[in-house]
């Protein structure tokens, strides 16, 4: 089942033939090596055996829960894990993301979206491995936004911006996951701590403040995007 390409090795877990075909063709053309699994059990076995670099997993598998694969993989698998799901399954997505998936795609999605998500996830893992747990250091640049994490300085369009400690912490959390979706729960845990996991409106209030300070038009954000009912994403060019 191991086919073509010399680039990263992707395990595609998908039960529908048409979707597998689309993913296979698209990924191979973009120089990925592709392995396919159609059930949760097969996916876990295949991942152990083939040691892929990236996993793309459909949450709507027939033989039980795609969630099972997420938690099964996350017990040992350290690479990027993307989940694919239908619309109206926000709670599944959030659950998968909180259980350790890196990002999600909603069917139907286009090629560019798929490749962008894969690149962001891979880059994130490469950076995390390189920084060796010290990823909150250094200069981050995304478009007009500059975050100097050594000096705790934020500039946008060349102007320094004053942030409160919580706003700064929130921004740095998003920067650490730049390009990736971060669930509200993850943000609450990182910024406010375990005891505030149910206070989703904290995030909304502070994201609103951050947008007011960083965005040209807070109602049409270019940097701090909302993923409705899921979380937030700091947009980066990929």
């Amino acid at each position: 089942m191991n086919h073509g390409g010399t680039g990263p090795h992707v395990l595609v877990v998908e039960d529908e033939e048409q979707m597998r075909r689309f993913l296979r063709v698209t990924l191979r053309v973009n120089n990925y090596r592709v392995t396919e699994a159609t059930t949760a059990a097969e996916a876990l076995a295949m991942a152990q055996e083939q040691r892929p670099d990236v996993v793309v997993l459909d949450l709507g598998l027939p033989d039980g829960d795609g969630m099972q694969v997420v938690s099964g993989l996350r017990s040992w698998f350290r690479g990027p894990l993307l989940v694919v799901s239908a619309r109206h399954q926000e709670s599944d997505k959030v659950q998968a993301l909180d259980a350790g998936a890196d990002d999600y795609l909603t069917k139907p999605f286009g090629t560019s979206e798929l490749l962008a998500r894969l690149r962001v996830a891979q880059r994130h893992f490469a950076r995390a491995a390189g920084a060796a747990g010290n990823s909150d250091r250094g200069l981050f640049v995304a478009g007009e936004l500059k975050v100097d994490r050594d000096r705790h300085e934020v500039t946008v369009r060349g102007e320094a911006v004053k942030l409160t400690p919580i706003e700064y912490k929130l921004l740095v959390t998003l920067v650490r996951n730049a390009g990736k979706v971060v669930t509200r729960r993850q943000l609450l845990r990182e910024v406010w701590g375990e005891q505030h996991l149910d206070e989703a409106h904290y995030v909304r209030v502070y994201m609103s403040n951050l947008r007011r300070k960083l965005e040209v038009d807070p109602a049409r954000p270019q940097l701090l995007l909302t993923e409705q009912n899921i979380g937030y994403r700091l947009q980066v060019d990929v």
Binding site: T164, A219, R220, T226
Partner: protein, 528 residues
């Protein structure tokens, strides 16, 4: 003279009192006591005591009057038999106690034999006349009571609009008129599962139901034990059965009561016939409307699903067969049309699913404190491609509070309003999106500079599968605004369309804000 007094007392006694009250009470026509002959003896005994009291002062001819009075009272209160007994026993007592030789039935003066005979004859005549009058009076009262019951029933029935209401009316009036439990059963009679919140109707055994069916089949009243079953017949058609169960098994046996049940049945039958006909018309209307919607939906679904599918199939087969001979621009054009049609297909399927889920009640609003700015941002991002560079003027006050709504659904509402505006207004015309909180309600307005919506159509645009005049062939099945309304209603809010100042349409969504704001976390430290 006495009979006429009795008549006036009973007939008009409620209004006039020509006799002193105690005598009046004595002569009141009432139901017979249980042992009338015992009462007759008591009356004679009382008359004898009174006669003894009067004996020293009065003539014998006057004493006999006391016994005559006793006869009249017995006739009025006790009926004919007891009254005749009162006459005979009373006259005998008079002879025994007062006529010389006293305390013996042997009379000293034979003229008293003549008095004795006349007394007996007068007593029998008075008894007969009085008790006839009494019977007539009782019958008149019963008739009066029945016609009042019937009048009240028919008046109540005119107000009944549904079978359920009629059943309530029947139950109430059968109880009043017959002291019986009543039940109205539309034909064919059958036991229905008990519905919550309605009084338990008269329960029916299998045998009772069989009797009810027999009443329908034979068109004759049926009786099983204390249960009387009267068929309800209108224009030779059996529309149901009236069931009355009396507490005492003999209550509905008198001719008057049986006639009254028949009159009840006639009135109820007419009312039931009217209500059933009305309900039938209503059901037919409902079915016709459902049928119409189903047809519209089928044609819309087949049109809106097939059109993009046909285009996709066409473009793809061309690319496969002639791809090599096409120039790059043409190929690109075909490929883009495939993408656009697939998008349209997806949008349409999404709308159908959304509406189905919203209408079936399978979708609960998952309300949470949401930022309107975020919801607006998400909606604008989703319609970005569709806007194709059109300007949307977004006006959100900086101090807009969080609102307790389902963010995903509200985003969908805005997306549908924006899609709708793009589709029905001229290319390049500007759009405006504003939000504001007034008291306890949030107002979201999506306004355009298109042709506007005629006043007559403003309510209809929110109906599913409705397309405005002049847009009969527009793509999209006319579901978008129906979804908007369903979402607004799910939030206990509403949506309407107004004419916009300066031309165009303005869709106004009003939602409750959800009450008191949640407490915000404090962040008082100096900026980093």
């Amino acid at each position: 003279m006495l009979p006429s007094v009795t008549t006036s007392t009973s007939m008009h006694g409620r209004r006039e009192h020509p006799l002193p009250a105690p005598l009046q009470r004595l002569l009141n026509v009432g139901p017979e006591p249980r042992h009338p002959y015992v009462y007759a003896l008591v009356v004679v005994a009382v008359a004898t005591v009174v006669a003894f009291a009067l004996y020293p002062f009065e003539d014998l001819a006057n004493l006999i009057m006391v016994y005559l009075l006793a006869t009249v009272i017995a006739a009025v209160r006790l009926g004919r038999g007891p009254s005749i007994m009162t006459t005979i026993v009373g006259t005998s007592a008079f002879v025994y106690f007062f006529v010389p030789n006293r305390y013996s039935f042997v009379m000293a003066d034979l003229t008293y034999l003549q008095t004795f005979s006349i007394m007996i004859v007068v007593g029998i005549i008075v008894s007969t006349l009085t008790s006839q009058l009494r019977a007539e009076l009782l019958a008149t009262e019963a008739r009066e009571r029945r016609s009042r019951a019937l009048y009240e029933l028919s008046r109540a029935l005119t107000a009944g609009d549904s079978t359920a209401q009629l059943e309530g009316i029947v139950r109430e009036h059968v109880q009043l008129a017959f002291h019986a439990r009543g039940r109205l059963m539309p034909a064919p009679p059958r036991e229905l599962p008990a519905e919550p919140n309605t009084p338990t109707p008269l329960p029916m055994s299998v045998a009772d139901l069989a009797a009810a069916e027999r009443a329908c089949a034979t068109r004759q009243p049926q009786r099983t034990g204390a249960l009387h079953l009267q068929p309800l017949i209108v224009a030779k058609e059996v529309v149901g059965v009236l069931a009355c169960e009396t507490i005492e098994p003999t209550a509905i046996t008198s001719r008057g009561d049986v006639q009254l049940v028949e009159s009840f049945a006639n009135n109820i039958a007419v009312a039931l016939h009217r209500v059933l006909a009305g309900e039938q018309v209503q059901r037919a209307h409902q079915r016709a409307e459902e049928e119409r919607l189903r047809n519209v939906m089928l044609s819309s679904v087949s049109h809106d699903l097939r059109t993009p599918l046909a285009a996709i199939t066409g473009a793809v087969t061309t690319l496969i067969a002639d791809g090599a001979r096409l120039d790059d621009a043409t190929r690109r054009d075909l490929q883009e049309s495939i993408r656009d049609d697939a998008d349209a297909l997806e949008r349409h399927v999404r709308n159908l699913l959304d509406l189905t889920r919203l209408e079936s009640g399978g979708l609960q609003a998952r309300r949470d404190w949401c930022s309107i700015e975020e919801v607006v941002g998400c909606a604008l991002r989703r319609v970005d491609t569709l806007l194709a560079g059109r300007h949307v003027d977004v006006q959100l006050p900086a101090d807009l509070p969080l609102v307790r709504v389902d963010g995903t659904l509200l985003e969908q509402l805005l997306v549908n309003l924006l899609e709708n505006a793009v589709r029905y207004t001229p290319r390049g015309s500007p759009l405006q999106l504003t939000a504001g909180v007034h008291g306890e309600s949030l107002q979201l307005v999506v306004a355009d500079r298109g042709p506007g919506i005629p006043a007559a159509e403003r309510e209809h645009v929110f109906s599913k599968f409705y397309r405005g005049e002049g847009h009969r062939h527009a793509t999209g099945a006319g579901l978008g605004l129906a979804i908007c309304r369903a979402i607004a209603h799910l939030h206990d809010g509403d949506i309407r369309v107004d004419e916009r100042d300066g031309g165009g349409a303005s869709f106004v969504t009003t939602l409750p804000t959800g009450g008191r704001q949640p407490t915000s976390p404090s962040d008082g430290e100096d900026p980093a």
